[in-house]
Amino acid sequence: MDTQVRERILELIGGIDSLPTLPHVASQIMDMAMSSGSSIRNIAEILSKDPSLASKVLKVANSAFYGLKQQVNSLELALVVLGMHEINHLVLSVSVFSAFADKEDKTGFSREKFWEHSAACGHFARILCKKLKETTLGGEAFVGGLLHDIGKIVLDEFSHDTFIGILQEAQEKNTGVYEIETEKLGFSHADIGAVLAEKWNLPPSVVDVIQNHHEPLNATNSPFLVAVVRIADLFCKAKEIGFGCDRKPFILEEDISWEIIQKTKPELKNLDIEKFTYELDDEVEKVKEFVSINRGR
């Protein structure tokens, strides 16, 4: 990111310390998952220090959203069934809700709808990875999708009126929020999100998704993941999940992300797009359940 842009963002939010932090336990687990030599037992011990986080992790793991074939009633079992990386992604996804939990909804921007959109995007991205036989990328795709728009929440908290003005203008002009932000502020929620993601030490692939989900050609670390999340974002629009501002239609095959994915996955052109679209209808309720588990106090 341009250093000037970064400075202007920090100015807007009043310094990097004003940004919310991740729960301590989540950061610890993220570090452990990325370093070798951590055992499942270590992770379970750490996680159990934050009982409310731990109980939400179990609740999500046992929900229809997660779709496990067996019940996991203890952290240890959850770790064995899911593995270290998946648990890391799960903990992270549950944690971000608490990072922004205490704030009340302000007018003009529904947090519930925001999270529904974000979770659906993550969920669809994970499903798309599975369809493309990239199951191991599913966890990152989910976190990336869940956090792709996180900069919008920051903007809403630190500059509410400006943000609402941008939302309204996007609606009136039937165009995207990203375009209006760039025009008005000189930066966008993608840049703001990337600043937050770096503060949180998120994996580089997730930072890449947040920073480049509107400009997938600029992806540096994980072009495939960025493209998958971008396509998932389009499907959210097709399913009318969240706060879509514009009614602009899209043709998947003409989206640059579709081409990026096809470079490594030529079989994409045989995907039954209609069936995939209709199958996602089954997922919408599960996404809502996930959000309600996480927003429950």
Partner: protein, 281 residues
């Protein structure tokens, strides 16, 4: 006799995949309960042991076609109503019409030709007529909208021409339109002449090559939940005729969970909020 009323997840999924493959219609989980109920009736009637045995019969017997047809009819409650599936209607009004009147090469001919193929008793073409009229009033005064509506059933066409509907069929019509475009007729409502004048009803046989070839060029074709009963080869032929019939930039709209995946790749699939349509480019 089945001991439980529930069909297990994997039976449901293999049944729906089979139905999708054979008919191009996709049943979401929301339809699972309805499917269970209807299949259970069938299980009792035909003395199957359970859901699995029925599924096996449907998927592997020689006579699956008749059973499939029976099942469709039971599940896709063949009702006809105005403003059916709002996301599709919204896409027609807010995206498709808007796009078509702005196409640069149409400037000289300010008429849009719309085709309701398989119009049944007229709910669809009248709905489209209302949308077009409203659209013209708001955005496109100088445009004319001509709607052709065809159906195989003479009885259905007679009812369509008559244009009299009960409250139930009209339950999704916004009140302001009900007042504007209908006259009360006892307990029913009668479509006003200004709408009738926009539509030409005619007997249509989608399988009649001679007739299909003679139908004039269209900007938008609606053919919703009609082709699900056709064989693959017939479907291919009909969809080809639709493709030829459409002008460049025109759209084909099929049922909201129908698919042309195994029929053609000639169109571009366009996603609108809550709906998709097929565009000829």
């Amino acid at each position: 006799m089945p001991t439980t009323m529930q069909m297990d997840e994997s039976t449901f999924k293999s049944l729906r995949d089979f139905i999708y493959e054979k008919s191009g219609i996709f049943f979401s989980e929301q339809k699972k309960y309805l499917m269970e109920t209807k299949i259970l009736e069938r299980i009792k009637e035909k003395n199957f042991k359970d859901f699995n045995e029925y599924a096996y019969f449907l998927m592997y017997s020689k006579d699956y076609k008749d059973e499939l047809k029976y099942l469709f009819n039971a599940i896709t409650i063949n009702e006809t109503s105005f403003f059916r599936n709002m996301p599709q209607i919204d896409a027609f009004e807010k995206n498709i019409l808007k796009e078509l009147v702005e196409l640069p090469d149409r400037a000289g001919f300010k008429t849009l030709n719309i085709f309701s193929a398989g119009c049944s008793t007229g709910a669809e073409p009248y709905t489209l007529a209302i949308i077009c009229k409203e659209f013209a009033e708001k955005n496109a005064h100088e445009w004319r909208f001509s709607i052709e509506a065809g159906d195989l059933s003479e009885a259905a066409l007679m009812q369509a021409r008559e244009g009299v509907y009960n409250e139930y069929t009209l339950r999704n019509v916004p009140p302001k339109y009900l007042e504007k475009y209908f006259d009360k007729d006892g307990t029913n409502y009668r479509v006003k002449d200004e709408l009738k004048r926009m539509i030409r009803f005619f007997p249509l046989n989608l399988m009649d090559d001679n007739q299909m070839r003679r139908i004039s060029k269209k900007d938008v074709i609606f053919c919703r939940n009609v082709m699900i009963y056709f064989d693959l080869s017939v479907k291919k032929k009909v969809v080809n005729y639709f493709y030829d019939m459409l002008k460049i930039g025109g759209y084909l709209v099929i049922g909201h969970s129908e698919s042309l995946h195994s029929i053609t790749r000639a169109f571009k699939i366009v996603h609108f909020p809550g709906a998709l349509a097929y565009k000829k480019e």
